[in-house]
Symmetry: C2
């Protein structure tokens, strides 16, 4: 028996309509080189609607790809909304990539047109003549346009030329909405293609209490970039919720964010743990950030020091686990300031709509008993079933029986709380046994003199692999390797003790701010070792 | 360009899986004549899975209808989950209907089998030999089985006979999940058929902060019956959220609910305003209800006295507007105890996924300016496009250009807040002008001696219609008609003053606890009037 419900396609048109209707007078604030720009979801909705005329005019075929190279601003948000609603696909390119990586992604995604912030044209000048796109459009953010792009069409001119009109649905729920490349620390980045339906469901789920809990009463600061998993979908989520959105533009440093929190009375902000440490540290001293009540964090584990700092300030901490391959929300731990701090490795329970399971090395599904360790696998309506490139080997190796293999080793407790034990690839295979690099990192992080830590495997003739650790000292501390080794000795099995512990000024970082373990491995494996 | 997301059908199988996985150890507590029954979402999930074998065994064809006649218990919840997941349709029949109304609904829905609480078999004995179903199954709640049903199969026996198995998807997103009849105060009730997809989306939306905000940390008491719009979907919502659910069974009086709040440490409860008044009044005196932090209300407007009482206790009040035709969530006002009380008529902003518009008498769409008054129309993925009966005249009269005509007169403010001004049919047409019965009710309710009030139109030879009011006095008060008329005189236009104001012991109620305006109109139109 069929139902008798209205047939409303679950596409980003729903989000666009929310902008135009319930969000008409809700503010969106952007920091640009030209100053602070104040607009509304209503204006963004109207301009996003007009983008259909713009991409038509640029000759982008239905389903064609459009790249962006931009900071978090209202123009970037409207491209992420308007391009998919125009039946095209938007691809946010990470502005911190090398020329070769940028050219690879544009080529691999088949991008036809590139929208670039004026202030980022200089960055692209070194590869301007090799960009594999038909057209470059400059987003006039007030920055200087590099001469290599002086003759490119201007975004505002193109928008001005489109007559105002009502939005017309042009996409189906299963159509591609955006492409984002994984920022894996090994191998070539892989293209992830989201659908309209996945975006809508992910946004609804992100509005639930046990996820990001975004409400129309919130003022949300999105410090996580749109080119990094669509700013965790928070552009769509704030639009659907009708929440005020604050976009920091180029400067997402702790000080700049703290100033924005004060100026815009931000209630909730989204950033990776390293940015939170910066934001809540010395950088926020001059500012009144007392309107802030919630911290959304993800992308990397938070340290105990950060969690204690957050709790001490009375902030609720949303500690998410996820992947680009799932837009990115997978599980969420909502840590309230008055609740006891659980295990650092705990990442909460699966979001409504997301399923998880544990699979052992032999492919058997393991119980949720808080002890059995296996690779975490996930499925759900916003989890991919394949990567963009049909010839990618990962399309075989990363999927199992319809589930995505996350590459994370985990245990699951009977109450469905997931604890990430390690990365499958970061497990150190030493003498036929496994050493958890994450467990070693946590043991070292418990030392009061340690601010940051990373453990990697280095090749070893006798044992196959052995652990090596890099640490950054806490302010005012100067721990030495011997002291740290002694500290570890009582806390981990004797044979886990790292071959080397080095105190560095800073950890090498990837373009999205995670520790670059490839670089660390190279450092430790170099012949300069003692 | 198609996306590369997993194809996970959006059906109640998602909710069933949540029960079995993340909800495995989360409690569901039911009050039955046999005492308090403690089970878990995991058990409910396993039994709901087995229901496929039960309905197969009963010979119900795929897509066939199965009726229930039951209080809010774990068995009823598992029927609402298991029957749709078995590819059949569940129809909760209101246990307060007359024999004729029950027989009409069973016949109209085409129900093949009826599941009835043992404790409700007596109620059905007067029409036992006329029930138009092939089979009646008794749910053994500890009540006495009436002899007319002594030979019927028992639910637990049927379940026991089904071997345990993994759930198998048997429904598509657009398949019917449940049927509920409208409780309209005029005309025959009309069948509303929800889809699986609509249920899933409605539940996700209900978990958002700006709706019912149901969290896995909640203990939710569902006092609103499953036979009344599926208990506002709260069975599915708590299952999806992984929240503990408390079901009051037969006794949903204020005292019984307050006792349950104390015993189960309930954090959020759902009930209509009249039940809230009862619950927060004298009934709760003996009990510690301090765990309660949120009150979900809907189905009728709340009085200022109730809102003030709720705020005074520090409770958050979720004041919803909705309809059976939209499962039922439409808009939501989340009233926090520290925020100023807005207009009583304000019902908040549309839920994410729901669109609203105002249409004037000439069919023109009106602006959201807080002044223009029109009929509220709505659309969205959980709004119906037709009623069950294809020959129902309402399929013409209640739909307009793809939108559902709600029958409510409203204004919409620029910030998207909806204010319900009146029912279209309750507007009193007097001398070619409109008098709002709702505005009159509110003006009368402001009198300190008035606890409840209802205004209806009565025929008038000269003016066409004139207003008449019935009031129930507040505890200890004894207002007379003249005093109330004088009170009104300064507050409404002179020509709005009711022809008659009568003080009654109680208002006549419909089976779902709303004021029965049909009965009132009959009373006021009878020749006994002075």
């Amino acid at each position: 028996m069929r139902s008798l419900m209205q047939d409303v396609p679950l596409t980003l048109d729903l989000v666009l309509r929310r902008c135009l209707e319930t969000g008409a007078h809700v503010e969106v604030v952007s920091v640009t080189p030209a100053g602070v720009v104040r607009t509304t979801w209503g204006d963004i909705g109207r301009r996003a609607t007009a983008l259909h005329g713009v991409v038509d005019g640029l000759g982008v075929a239905p389903g064609g790809r459009v790249a962006t190279f931009a900071w978090n601003t209202h123009r970037h948000v409207e491209l992420f909304l308007g391009v998919p609603c125009a039946g095209r696909v938007v691809h946010g390119v990470n502005v911190r990539l090398t020329d070769d990586e940028i050219l690879y992604q544009l080529h691999n995604a088949g991008d036809e047109v590139l929208f670039v912030d004026a202030s980022l044209t200089s960055r692209l000048s070194s590869c301007a003549d090799r960009l594999p796109v038909r057209e470059v459009v400059v987003l006039e953010d007030g920055g200087t346009v590099h001469e290599a792009f002086a003759n490119c069409p201007r975004y505002e001119d193109l928008l001005d030329a489109v007559p105002e009109a009502e939005p017309v649905p042009r996409a189906e729920p299963d159509d591609a909405a955006w492409i984002c490349y994984t920022s894996g620390t090994t191998g070539r980045p892989k293209g992830v293609v989201s659908s309209h339906l996945a975006c809508v469901l992910h946004s609804l789920s992100s509005m639930t209490v046990d996820s990001h809990a975004v409400s129309r009463e919130d003022v949300l600061l999105a410090a996580t970039p749109l080119f990094h998993v669509n700013a965790w979908g928070l552009g769509y989520t704030t639009a659907l919720a009708g929440a005020k959105l604050v976009l920091p533009g180029r400067d997402a440093s702790g000080g700049a964010l703290a100033a924005l929190i004060e100026a815009e009375r931000v209630t909730v902000a989204a950033a990776v743990p390293t940015v939170w440490v910066d934001l809540l540290g010395r950088a926020s001293k001059p500012y009144d950030i007392s309107t802030l009540s919630r911290a959304l964090s993800g992308g990397a584990p938070a340290t105990r020091a950060l969690l204690e700092d957050v709790a001490g300030r009375g902030l609720v901490f949303h500690k998410g686990w996820g992947m680009t391959e799932m837009l990115p929300s997978g599980t969420m731990q909502v840590q309230r300031p008055d609740s006891p701090l659980g295990a650092l490795t705990a990442v909460g329970k699966p979001a409504a709509g997301v399923r998880v399971r544990l699979v052992g090395p032999d492919g058997a599904v393991l119980p949720w008993d808080g002890r059995a360790t296996g690779e975490l696998e996930t499925s759900g309506p916003w989890v991919i079933r394949a990567y963009l490139d049909p010839d990618d080997d990962s399309n075989e190796s990363r999927f199992h029986d319809g589930w995505l293999r996350t590459g994370d080793l985990a245990v699951i407790h009977p109450d469905a709380t997931v604890e990430i034990v390690d990365r499958v690839k970061d497990v150190i295979k030493s003498g036929g046994e496994w050493i958890s690099s994450l467990a070693l990192e946590q043991a070292l992080a418990a030392h009061p003199g340690v601010a940051q830590v990373a453990v990697v495997a280095v090749p070893d003739d006798k044992w196959g692999e052995r652990p090596a650790a890099a640490v950054v000292a806490a302010d005012g501390a100067a721990p030495c390797a011997a002291e740290l080794a002694e500290f570890l000795a009582g806390r981990v099995p004797r044979w886990w003790l790292p071959e080397r512990i080095e105190v560095l000024d800073e950890l090498p970082l990837t373009t999205v701010g995670k520790c670059d373990k490839k670089a660390l491995r190279a450092r430790f494996s170099s012949p300069s070792r003692s």
